[in-house]
Amino acid sequence: MAAVTFKDVYKQFEGMGYPALDHVNIEIAEGEFVTILGSSGCGKTTFIKMINRLYEPDAGEILLFGKQIRDKDPVQLRRRIGYVIQQVGLFPHMTVGENIATIPHILKWDKERINAQVDAMLLLVDLEPQEFKNRYPAQLSGGQQQRIGLARALICDPRIMLLDEPFGAIDAITRENLQNELKRIHTESKKTYIFVTHDIREALKLGTKIMIMNQGQILQYGTPEEVLAHPADGFVEELIQTSGVSESLLKDGDGI
């Protein structure tokens, strides 16, 4: 069964001359790490936000693990989906521990379970629980904040994670570490990850599949090797060439 299925999904925002998503069809298999690549305004965020119903399609169907999402209560649906955004969105009036425990708290987990899970999540994102749990977001670096953002999204053990340019505002070295860790977390968890980026190196490094978008359409969906070897059209080819990433780089493996 596919994790995510889009059937002829169409979305046009009010006052926009062209659709943000133009009859999109795709099936994403469970366990994939899909990186969505495309220039700004091509519909990447719209695609992601349709899955957790922050946006509703004008037409078409979206299925999550075989079930129509429009039949579900959006609030309940979102609690089972991890969501990470570039601005992180940590609540400044809550400690790190409270931030991570936001949804468990709402779900009324018992205290010990919350504590244990918060510690486990902090360890998962490579932060020392005792050192970080009681800090406030303002006392963290950008990279640490996004680690907390990840921990908060992971705590309910969602079957699917949506990440919208999570490392977009983070410096190159920290970013590299975060990428490695996210890759490790995904590999260990076997969950489905959908990750938006406009950095082709990041897309190639992290993705088991790459989805290339332009003007509301999916131009190509395939493994990094496929995309590099057989660009679907001129746009994809140009994207690869202008970024200076070549097949040889990919074969170096860790070189990217």
Partner: protein, 211 residues
Amino acid sequence: MIAYFMDHRDMLLGAFFEHLWLVCETLFLSIVLASILSYILLEHQKASQTVIQVFGAIYSIPSLALFALLIPFFGLGNATAIPVLVAYNQYLLIRNFMTGLTGVDASLVEAAVGMGMNRRQVVTKVRIPLAMPAILSGIRLSIISTTGIATIAATINAGGLGKILLSGLRTMNEEKIAWGTILCVVIALAADLLLKRFERENTLLLNGAGK
């Protein structure tokens, strides 16, 4: 001065507590009403400008005129004074509440909704705590304003320190006028200091120095 206070202690303190009580009742009802209206306006942000403008217009009506207008409906005394004072406060409270509630960083609201908070939770867990400085400053302004305007309510028999001021004026008793004024200032200043302290503690917390 002091001698006058000692001689008329019962009258002055009676008026003081009457006044304080009028302010407290007004404030309680004002905050409840403004909170309900703000909660509704959050879902209808286009209407909120209009509603704030209407209350702004009411706020600009001289209080004496507004009291006079309502006497035919509610008669003399608190029954008229309190609705008028509550109506005045709506402008100060709703304007500040809405500024605070809608001023919350959009990405925080997006994160909150995206992780699965419902509407009420987004308001109580994210918007209200982060709007606290604006909420407290609205309450502080409305206490000061109510303390002042409530003195006018004495003209329609609502009692309080206004009664002292009015009779002081009528008899040209300077000591009485002075004491009426001082006791008003005491209420306003005490409220001001208390709420400023809350605001300061809150700001420290919001800046992440809450430990």
